[in-house]
């Protein structure tokens, strides 16, 4: 139990051959089971690379990525991913979109046909959790951007991943919808046994949601600071207007401004 779920040790990742850009260098990060970690940093700091390394979409040239006690050499299927772009498939209904991962993941795809009703019930329960009850038979284009993103979260969670990777999932949404979805994510994390890594530009988002905020440097990216977020859970949106909250956001902002200037 003591070993972290994700352990990134001294990782270098270079794109495009030996003379390509060095995206991350000397990256070290540990993520414990059940933890909610937010990764922030100046743009181009290799946050997306961090996601791809953790999920096994990229294999680093140097160092090791260890997920669930084994070194990552190919895509790890214990993760769910969600991006800023919801990428719902327009020819499938919302429910069919959410069931898509089950048609892929080895341990589910063989059971899917015989246990269809069970999985559909599970998907509908997830839809209810994110506030989309009854929208399962709508097509994605009939949903608003915020609703599509909620459905996207359901798709990322349907196969009960141990690790949920979110890459700026709320970047394209308006402020009110974003705050609503923060609460959705907060409640998902509280109610399910899942470890979450959230990559974001929004410092308030990171402080409101995470247990630990990781600050990365400008390219080549590495971790320059880790902050435990001291606020009690469950957190309410009122927290956003408290001085201690804003102080922490401001401190993070200062650190990133310095990291940007260091380029």
């Amino acid at each position: 139990m003591a070993s972290p779920l994700v352990s990134i040790e001294n990782v270098d990742m270079r794109y495009g051959g030996p003379d390509g850009t060095l995206a991350v260098s000397g990256l070290n990060l540990k993520i414990n089971r059940g933890e909610f970690v937010a990764v922030v940093g100046p743009s181009g700091c290799g946050k997306s690379t961090l996601m791809k390394l953790t999920t096994g979409l990229h294999i680093p040239q140097n160092g090791a990525v260890i997920v669930a006690n084994s070194q990552v050499t190919k895509p790890v299927s214990i993760v769910g991913m969600a991006f800023q772009n919801p990428t719902m498939l327009p020819w499938r209904t919302t429910l069919e979109n959410i069931l898509l991962p089950l048609e892929i993941v080895e341990r589910h795809r063989r059971r899917l046909r015989s246990h269809k009703a069970e999985y559909v019930a599970k998907a509908e329960k997830l839809l209810e959790t994110v506030g989309l009850k009854g929208f399962g038979d709508k097509f994605p284009w009939q949903l608003s951007g915020g609703m599509q993103q909620r459905a996207n979260l359901c798709r990322a969670l349907i196969h009960e991943p141990e690790l949920l990777m979110l890459d700026e999932p709320f970047g394209a949404l308006d402020a009110f919808t974003r705050e609503e979805l923060w609460c959705v994510i907060r409640d998902l994390h509280a109610s399910q046994d899942v470890t979450i890594v959230l990559v974001t530009h929004d410092l308030r988002e990171s402080v409101f949601l995470a247990d630990k905020v990781v600050v990365m440097s400008a390219r080549p990216g590495r971790v320059i600071a880790e902050h435990e977020v001291p606020f009690e859970r469950p957190r309410q949106l009122d927290l956003l207007y408290e001085p201690v909250f804003n102080e922490m956001v401001q401190r993070l902002h200062g650190e990133i401004a310095t990291a940007r200037a260091a380029v």
């Binding site: 991913m81 991006f83 498939l89 327009p90 892929i104 080895e106 284009w141």
Partner: protein, 271 residues
Amino acid sequence: MTTMETPTPVATAPKPAFKLDWVRLAPLLYTIGLFVIWEIGVRLSGLPHTILPTPTRVFEAIAQYWSPIWKNSVQTLYTTVLGFMIAVVAGLGIGLFIGWSKTIYAGLYPIMVGFNAIPKVALVPILVIWFGIGTVPAVMTAFLISFFPIVVNVATGLATIEPETEDVLRALGAKKMDIMLKVGIPRSMPYFFGSLKVAITLAFVGSVVSETVASNSGLGNMMASAQSNFNVPLVFAGLLMLAVEGIAMYAVMAWIERRMTGWAHRSTMGN
């Protein structure tokens, strides 16, 4: 909503007189308009029938020669549709093959472009050497000219899968085959059905070119022999029949497209 209540209820009162749907009628009216202008233009300029016949003279020719026109129209429709159907099967297959991998796409694409740049009329003599004159070269020419747009569209649909979608699926352990079946092929279907409209009109070009040069039947052959007899109204009658067949087949393809991939018209593929 209250601001919508304007003080002029008269304007919103339903009109009892039936209203013409001008947009629906436009295709018919414009077609009639074209024939009227043609008719008046020829009559005023006094051009002889052997240069440019009037539409009435062309319709007369259609009625007069109806039996051979019908026979040859059916023949042309048959060669065109047969060639087109071969093009659909081959185009879909080759398109999926090319779109499968970046390497195959890069390697075969220039060859396909080069092949498409060859005027198909130049291939007809070769086809005649191989298959003799008649139906086979016409079908082959229709096939050769119409399969390229299908290949390009299917391959493009496959090659433009959003990288995020691919990442999400690959992170779950999806194989190339899974991604193609779940995302690539359904996603390329709107491109495929869209290309059918282009392909069917090109197929007519192919079959008629081949019939003109190397056949004893079909509208192309009929027009060629009418032209050598200075029977210009019959030439125009053949052109008119081709136009009618082309419009009809195009409409069928557009209908199939709407039926099969209605979702693509209500959503934006890019998002």
